[in-house]
Amino acid sequence: MHGPTRRRRWLRATALAATVTLLAAACGGGTAEAPEDGAAPSAAGGDTDRELVIWAGSQTPITANFNPFNAAGVLHLANGGIYETLFAYNKAADTEPVPLLGTDFAWSEDGTELTVTLRDGVEWNDGEPFTTDDVVYSFLNEASKPAYLADAVATDDSAVLLSFDEPQFTNEFALLGATYMVPEHVFSQHEDAEDAEAELSGIVAWPNAESPVGTGPYLVETTSDAAYTAVANPGYWGGEPAVKNLRYVGIDSNQSAEDLLATGQVDWATMFVPEPERIEAAGYGYLNTPVDPTVLYTCANADLGCEGDQTDVAVRQALSVAIDRGQIAEKAFVGLTADISPTFALLGRDDKWIADGMPAAIEQSADADQAGQILEDAGYEKDADGFYGKDGEPIELTLTSVDGWSDYNNAAKLIEEQAAAAGIKVIASTVSWNEFADSRTGGEFQLVMGGVIGTSSADPYQIYRDWFSGDYTTPVGTALEPGFWNFSRYANDEVDAAVKVAAGTDDESVKADAYATVQEHIVHDVPYIPLVVNATQTFYNSTDYTGWPTEEDLYLFPPAWQGPTSGVILGNLTGTE
């Protein structure tokens, strides 16, 4: 009976998610029009003392840590609830960024300078004013300064200029939507923090556990192993939040969380629930915002050392055609997923980036005949057992998924069955998390069921660069470097060139042309076999609170674990009574 628990599904959807942010795609650059006054509480309801209980994915024991630079340990409230970014970007819909501590920003023509105008009259919750010095410090300190950032200087009392050596349109989100503003007068005291045991030093080693000083809508009240609580910040620049008390709890399994939702003990949670109707029936609002693609990683590039039949593009194409995505979505993902585009643009949000002549959604049903045709054209023949092969060697592909991720395990089993029906032998097996992590980063795999990070704004650029370009991969046997996601080892000079063109421009038509080139290649070469866009299900107590993002007003990406947007949403809530 001694063993680690099953890999719980919610872990991948939630753990630490609020702490991590993407270097987002540029969204056209230029000047964002800042709405009048940011995210002031809406007037729909009134103040409420009812404690809002949130599960953002924390497990017990909870360790108090409100340092946004400590990605591994920071608690969800810190990102958005206590510390804020300059703007909040919407991953769920193509909307303008919500101004937070910044009110306006402008790119220089060539993309090497970004000027940000700051909000006036903001104070840290210890009473000190929020200044340009804090912003400069937040960008340039050791723990947060990105390599591409050349310098940050204050141009006047309320504006900061970020400068770069190369055009950085594409890093707008990383700079404005994912860099948390911290008080220099507090954090600079802890630059020498040191932890000899963990061999850590610098700001990251500082837990910031006692009364963290931020600009956000909430103040930390208590912390314990099992939960932490927060109260409304009376001096919040957007006005004191109407929901006065928050409680973030630690829950250790998806099943427990679902049970707690069903019994009405948690007010806001984002997690996979196979039958959301049951939770809705318990009086919850429910929003499903699929953004992250689920695919089969294939180790596609024999030149970089990939081994196996999937290095033949015909095999990848045939397998893709042989998959019955409708059945997978229905049975393995309980019908909660969205259709995926083979171009990896998010359907609905990114439609404008799908080039003419490219299919929008990928074919949902299987076509075994076409799969066979593709293989026969490529010189494969069916053997006595009904499986295709070459030179007497049947195709045999091992498809791994992480044990316990039941939707993935189930999808893999279905693919094994569907592929067999088309004469392709796929063997589905499960592996531990460790093996999964090792094999995909080292390239020692044939097929792996995995996820692709959906981009944080309405532009697929980030996926094209990080997942498809040859600059973001390494030979098999060499672990990918941080920030590289090209597990498939796919490398195509034309794709790489097009990605570079897209990075250096804020001209939409130039970018669209570059994307057309990228899409043409990746749709043909299928280094990642697209399956579905996975569900992101958020449940919220709409009986006692209003102001949540809804289907009609999807003003921000709604997950409870997502920073900084969860903080903005909290500031936006009101009680119904």
């Binding site: 340990g73 409680r247 992590a437």
Partner: protein
């Protein structure tokens, strides 16, 4: 005295081997924490360079040390009572995490184990004494209890009693929706007891049958032994025979087993703690192993190792006291 010296020496040697193995085993696991955490973060969403920078600072520190250097400093720290800092629960020292989890595990699993032992041995002795009666006849049916998959029962219990009937809580060792951490109040104590009921009941259900059966069989055997009969022939009072001769002798194997069971209390019941989200050592261990959190893993392993060894030593010594033959032969 020589008997005791030998036993202590023996356990000291075992301790050394076990500690060394504890050191080596976690390092034989594939993967490194940085890669694993990064991969996990990637599944959760987006990873900015700033985050990656700080992750490297956090997790990539010890790679330049040789295994031997790590081993030496491991022992050094161990002897200072210093078990390092957890990476996943950064920056909490491992000792704090263990200290936080230990009372819950000992409290829940320990109490349940003792209750189960007392209940099982008591009922077993009674059934053995009343061998052939209806009490004895119920014994075989208890085998069903010990054959139930523990987590299966626990999950059913949660579904029925916590979710459907809402009689008992779903998670935690106390009401995490009310209390801001442990406190000294009757309300809190009540909450702790309330939260312990369901987990304890499932532990007892799954373990009581074994105690009962073992004790009953030993009791029946013992009652047929010469010395019990002699005692009877001498006309000793039956209650005295039951307690002094039969139960005392019949309980030796059960007491031995109890020592082992107590030793493993500290390992927690992984499955119990997992199903009920009970904040004990077992759950800590699962997280540590999953995240290659070396320091935490070693700390928890060490705790369990020490506890098991100590309990076995005590058991051996007690055995020497109860059964002098064992001592003299050594």
């Amino acid at each position: 005295m020589r008997f005791y010296a030998r036993r202590v020496g023996f356990y000291a040697l075992t301790l050394w081997i076990a500690v060394s193995l504890n050191f080596l085993l976690p390092r034989l696991l594939p993967g490194d924490p940085y890669t694993i955490l990064l991969a996990r973060l990637q599944r959760s969403g987006d990873v900015s360079p700033a985050v990656q920078n700080s992750l490297r600072l956090l997790l990539g520190a010890t790679e330049d040390q040789s295994l031997w250097q790590q081993y030496v400093s491991y022992w050094g720290n161990l002897l200072r009572g210093d078990l390092g800092v957890s990476v996943t629960q950064f920056p909490t020292p491992v000792t704090d995490l263990i200290a936080g989890a230990l009372p819950w595990t000992i409290g829940l699993v320990g109490t349940a184990t003792i209750l189960s032992f007392v209940l099982g041995v008591g009922l077993g002795a009674w059934a053995g004494w009343r061998r052939g009666s209806w009490v004895d006849g119920v014994i075989p049916s208890t085998t069903l209890l010990q054959s139930l998959p523990y987590f299966w029962v626990a999950l059913l219990f949660i579904y029925v009693f916590s979710v459907e009937l809402r009689w008992f809580p779903i998670i935690g060792a106390y009401d995490v929706f009310t209390f801001n951490g442990p406190e000294l109040s009757w309300a809190f104590v009540g909450s702790v007891l309330y939260h312990a009921v369901l987990p304890a009941v499932t532990i007892i259900i799954s373990s009581v049958g074994a105690w009962m059966l073992g004790m009953r069989n030993m009791m029946v055997s013992t009652l047929s032994e010469d010395y019990v009969m002699t005692a009877q022939a001498k006309g000793l009072h039956t209650r005295r025979i039951a307690l002094t001769y039969a139960v005392r002798n019949a309980a030796i194997p059960s007491v031995n087993g109890f020592g082992v069971a107590l030793a493993f209390v500290v390992a927690g019941s992984l499955v119990t703690e997992q199903v009920f989200s009970y904040p004990g050592l077992g759950k800590l261990m699962i997280e540590a192993v999953r995240n290659n959190d070396y320091a935490l893993m070693q700390g928890v392993f060490l705790m369990i190792t020490l506890a098991v060894l100590a309990a076995l030593l005590v058991m051996d010594l007690v055995h020497g006291l109860i059964d002098p033959r064992a001592r003299h032969r050594d």
